[in-house]
């Protein structure tokens, strides 16, 4: 087996190829794409979107789905902004409390799924509605404007040009998730339950605990994304999170995640986010109707699923031939 075909088997190779191609092509047509300012704007979008994608990815890993990712993120976002404006809490305290709200919301999801045995789809559909309702009850659909300047600066300035501050938490999360899923027992439990729940259970893994843990992590990451979005938008919008759902599935799937569970890749999911960001930006640069972004995203998902299916078939064929 040559080195090329070995790379072709990894999850990140295909998305990386697409990323490089996209950068080269878009950059060739429009050199301003590679300007420091544009790279900074891209990185801002990628930082937040990656957390949204990771929040869904961890649930895909355990073989479920979380429709309430956006609702949890939105709730954490307005809580963060509201606690600072109304109660005058310092930003770090408000951020920690908002993260705890996300963690708690995720644990509630996981506990209900584990306890009732009802599908995650239904439970998170219900909790999506409840979290969003609480959000609207608190905000009365009005944004919070009282965001401290330090928070605004964190969301919009760079620490080394063109790297924005927002890249830091995302980079830490990505490294942490990689470690969790590849080196830590809990991450392996999550993938084991997603891969074959019955076998995981017979091997002594507590399925309930694992499901709750995965949802807790998901809630935490969604909340972090919400908080970072408040910093970036400089305003506590009640609509934060409303448009996260498609992206949250698109990036992991482009990154080769198996929707039935048991297999996800942090690096490839990150590349999925990058691809979506580049394409979104390119369409803006070329003055293409923004509605087309949705269509292109849909095509991209189909294409990625098709590629994954092909790879799986080829792997299976290789396995039977080798047997």
């Amino acid at each position: 087996m040559g080195p090329l075909s070995r790379y072709a088997r990894t999850d990140w190779f295909g998305p990386l190829l697409v990323t490089v191609l996209a950068i080269v092509i878009v950059g060739a047509f429009n050199p301003s794409f590679l300007s420091p300012l544009n790279i900074q704007v891209l990185l801002l979008a990628i930082s937040v979107n990656a957390l949204i994608a990771f929040s869904q990815m961890i649930i895909i890993a355990v073989g479920q789905m979380n429709l309430s990712v956006g609702a949890i993120g939105g709730l954490a976002a307005i809580s963060f902004a509201g606690m600072m404006q109304v109660w005058g809490l310092p930003a770090p305290v408000a951020a920690v409390l908002a993260l705890l709200i996300g963690l708690g919301a995720g644990m509630v999801n996981g506990a209900f799924i584990a306890w009732t045995g009802i599908s995650a789809f239904v439970i998170t559909l219900a909790s999506l509605s409840m979290f969003k309702g609480i959000n609207l009850g608190i905000t009365q659909a009005q944004p919070f404007y009282g965001i401290p300047d330090a928070v605004k600066a964190f969301g919009n300035t760079t620490f080394i040009d063109p790297l924005p501050w927002l890249v830091l938490p995302t980079a830490l999360v990505a490294a942490g998730l990689w470690f969790l899923l590849n080196r830590q027992a809990l991450g392996r439990f999550i993938l084991a339950v997603g891969g074959n729940q019955h076998a995981a259970e017979l091997s002594g893994i507590s399925v309930g605990f694992t499901v709750v843990a995965a949802h807790a992590i998901s809630g935490l990451l969604a909340a972090l994304a919400g908080i970072m979005l408040v910093a970036r938008l400089q305003i506590g919008q009640p609509t934060i999170g409303d448009d996260w759902l498609i992206l949250s599935f698109a990036a992991p799937v482009i990154g080769g995640a198996v929707l039935s569970g048991g297999h996800v890749s942090v690096s490839a999911t990150l590349l999925g986010v990058v691809i979506v960001a580049i394409i979104t930006q390119a369409l803006v640069l070329f003055n293409i109707d923004p509605f087309l972004v949705q269509v292109v995203l849909g095509v991209l998902i189909l294409w990625a699923v098709g590629i994954n299916r092909l790879r799986e078939l080829r792997l299976r064929k290789a396995a039977t031939a080798g047997a």
Binding site: R183, Q184, A185, L186, R188, F189, L191, A192, G195, N196, H198, A199, A200, E201, L202, S203, G204, I205, S206, F209, T210, A213, G262, H263, L315, R316, A318, A319, T320, G322, A323
Partner: protein, 503 residues
Amino acid sequence: MAVFEARGVSKFFPGVKALQGVSLTLEPGSIHALLGENGAGKSTLIKIITGVHRPDEGQLLLDGKPVEFGGPRDATAHQIGVVHQERNLIPRFSVGENIALEQLAGHPLRRVDYGKVNETARHWLKVLDLDIDPRIPVSQLSVAKMQLVEIAKALSLKSRVLLLDEPTAALTPHETDILFGLLRRLRDEGVSMLFVSHKLEEVQAICDRVTVLRDGRNACESRSMQGLGRQDLVRLMIGRAELIADWPSRDHSRAPAALRLQGVSTTLGHRNVDLTLRKGEIVGLYGLVGAGRTELAKCILGQFPVTAGTIEVEGKPAKIRDVADAIHRVGIGYVSEDRKQEGLVLMHSVLENAGITVWRRLARRFGFLTDGMVRAKTEPFIRRLAVRTPSLGQLVGNLSGGNQQKISVAKWLAAGVKVLIVDEPSVGIDIKTKAELHELLRELSETGTAILLITSDMPEMITLADRIVVMNAYRIEGEITNTRDYRAMSEGIMNLIHRVEAA
């Protein structure tokens, strides 16, 4: 002293007495066979020993002390290891991690030390003489290798009692030899093993004690294999030979062929299969688990591609594209071996299940269909089958196994197929229902339907079949005309299978 003992164990399910006062004693350093026909209660007993079910009566003793298992993890904690019939590996994980998963479980915050994981795995793979790199994913292994990895996994728990549920079903003779060598070594080291298999020659080769179950009771309990011949085991398993109904033999050699396979090869591995079903005839397809019988049925139905040869239905070549095509255009029906997974929609009513095959034919313009239309078509068959259900609106999931099976046959009667493939029709149903089902299949064949009967139940085969075709390793090994002489028939069948294994 006995390592493990089950004493007077009973287990009742709604409508079925799965086990009644069954006992079993496992000695250290012994390989103990657990035998019984399908439905005799073997799998229920295994589930009790492994903590999946709790016994309704009786008790389990470990080293002479009573124990109760709250779940499968409890049983493993008591050093009872199991190699299940179905795969219990996580496909994307490495071989090493699959083997070591039990050691990881319970410590979610611990860092996984892959060096140690692979070292442990290498040790157990070496014990098994397996040349597998513990770092490769399980999904890249062959089925046989996966089976051996599962054994390594069970061994790694340092089990004192090891349950092996049909461990050789997916193995080649060579791999089986390796496995047996290993089991003997484990026996000499004092491990107590319970060996479940349908292959009597394997049982005779490796087991020193035997417990036979029949209809949920002990036909013999933990006796020595000394002096027990193959026929003795068979007699213990099936009991008196009088179960065989006394139907006159029929000769269909002049009847036109309903289904004819010539030189058929498939992507699943069948080679050069010739098989003819004549109108009104019941042909039995006998073989051991893994011989490729169900797989052949699925290929005939168009679920998997046929790569060579021809399939003719009523003398005309039939290109069967998919299952819907097989049912509606060609007229081949299939009663699945796995009625819960493949045969019935358990959450739907009796009427919906029985009518599923006729909807397409009955539907009027714009797919308009009423319950009345379906009822008129299916009710006569449900009545004739004496399905015990309070109403046609009852959910199938609430009926007993036997009644479920009747409904999965009824839906094909309503469909009016020319060829019916029946796969293990009496697994898990009681003797009375079984007899009713046999009469029904016989009647159905009298009306001209050709039936291909797949069963591992020898008495059933000899009761029903006009001819018996023996399959082994995805090939047809030969054919015998059924004389309904049990001894001669079972010997003839076993000789056909043996001939291959001896070769």
